[in-house]
Amino acid sequence: MSDMTPAPHIAVSRMEGEAHGVVEKPLTAFDKIYNLNWLRKLVMLIVLAVIWEVYARWLNNALLFPTFAETVEALVEGAASGILVIRAWASIQMLLAGYAIGIMLAGVLTFLAIGTRIGSDFLETMTSIFNPLPAIALLPLAMTWFGLGSGSLIFVLVHSVLWTVALNTHSGFRAVSNTLRMVGQNCSLSGPRLVCMILIPAALPSILTGLKIGWAFAWRTLIAAELVFGVSSGRGGLGWFIYERKNLLDIPDVFAGLLTVIIIGLAIENLVFRKIEEKTVRRWGMQQ
């Protein structure tokens, strides 16, 4: 019967000549420029600055709303005289201390949580209790416990960092694929070696997200706390600077302080964290 089956006929096509159209075409100059992300945003910022300037001039009341030019002038003066730099540095120092302590505690908590069932229950319960509570809400309590000083600030900072970082790290660990764990075990990794060599790098996208959110929380919390009191041992931070200048009715300086807060926040988020992501998770294709 198989003899009866006709053999299939194969017709191979000749792929010669330039029969096909253009495979690739360069973009026009406008398309190229329009595709530059930073350029589009820069144009938008300039437009906003112009609107600000026009509105403030029309309003003509520096006590309510200084012009963009006045604000920039105050910013440059503040930076040149060093006062803004000193205040910013005071804030950043405080922030780094709280951030570091918060991360260390988060590390300890997550380490216990992946090792033991009770640790995991503890972490989940504590994060669900404290995560919805804005750290700044603890400031009055912190002031009665630790007084008007860096102790209170660090307490609220730790609180703002700890739970987010712990929560993200822990969920990152839990999301590590079983296959990767098995690969680690296959190479006789277990316990702390498995955590350091497999779990931490595999969970790095979540860990970085936690660190980023923790940083943002901490920065906002610190500025807000400094608005309440900032003169611990005579050295106030940026929040205190803003509060102080408002009392002196030096509104351009208030705006300059606010701008500094924004600039530092943006710089850390876009330079430091972006760079870390580019060097790690993006390079490894773990995050788009």
Partner: protein, 257 residues
């Protein structure tokens, strides 16, 4: 006949789900000799992957014994390297070469220059020398599986455990990978325990096949001495025979209705 390398004796495997204790395999026996290309073949639910994981040491039998070189298997170890089906078995934060080096160093088999040399050698064998410094996410599925095979071979395990390694690949790539695996085997004659649900793949890759029936997995038949590079007509006949064996019960059930 030489003494078996791997001995699986009366192995019953159970695992827990939310509500049940599921028996994956029931009193399965088989032996794997050195340089065997031993296939565990069966439909889904026959516990073939679970059996492989038990050999890997990830799961303890509730009954029976699994021993390698006469020693009972208690935990995962580098003497039984696994190649998984999933593409995410490579560490995404390490390049192709670093992935192989990592396995060698983490298991304390080799370190430093010796590990790097061994890794380069294994990567060249699977034809990926050009991609040694690429990160896994830039590779195709087939290439990732090649890296996993290279990692497994570089470790020179007593037995290479392969859990449907080509199942997630497209049909053309899968065929090519089967040919490559056989070519690699010709080189060093390593022992491999290979899980698949494809009858054609089992016949092509294996020299021995253990046929498992589903729910729970029990040994249905064992096929030994499958010739290397079987003629297509003979392979087709064997495929049909295995197919009939696997699905005989279902047809009977239908007939009884």
């Amino acid at each position: 006949m030489t003494a078996p390398l791997l001995n699986v004796k009366g192995v019953t495997l159970q695992y827990r789900t939310q509500e049940h204790v599921v028996t994956a395999t029931y009193r399965v026996d088989f032996d794997v000799s050195r340089s065997d290309r031993f296939i565990l073949l069966g439909p889904s639910g026959c516990g073939k992957s679970t059996l492989l994981k038990a050999v890997g040491g990830y799961l303890k039998p509730t009954e029976g014994k699994i021993s390698l070189n006469g020693r009972q298997i208690a935990a995962p170890g580098p003497d039984r390297m696994m190649v998984f089906q999933e593409f995410d078995q490579l560490l995404p934060w390490k390049t192709v070469k670093e992935n192989v080096v990592f396995a060698l160093e983490a298991s304390r088999k080799l370190r430093g220059a010796a590990a790097r040399e061994k890794a380069a050698d294994a990567i060249a064998k699977v034809g990926l020398a050009r991609f040694a410094d690429s990160y896994p996410h830039t590779l195709s599925g087939g290439m990732k599986q090649r890296v996993a095979i290279a990692r497994g071979m570089a470790m020179e395990p007593d037995i290479l455990l392969m859990d449907e390694p080509f199942a997630a690949l497209d049909a053309l790539t899968r065929r090519k990978m089967q040919d490559e695996l056989l070519a690699l085997w010709e080189g060093t004659k390593f022992t491999v325990l290979f899980v698949t649900h494809s009858i054609a793949e089992a016949i092509k890759v294996g020299n021995r096949i253990l046929l498992l029936s589903p729910h729970p997995g029990r040994v249905k038949a064992r096929i030994d001495d499958i010739p290397y590079g079987m003629a297509p007509s003979a392979a087709a006949a064997l495929e049909k025979e295995i197919h009939n064996m696997l699905f005989a019960e279902e047809i009977e059930e239908v007939e009884h209705v």
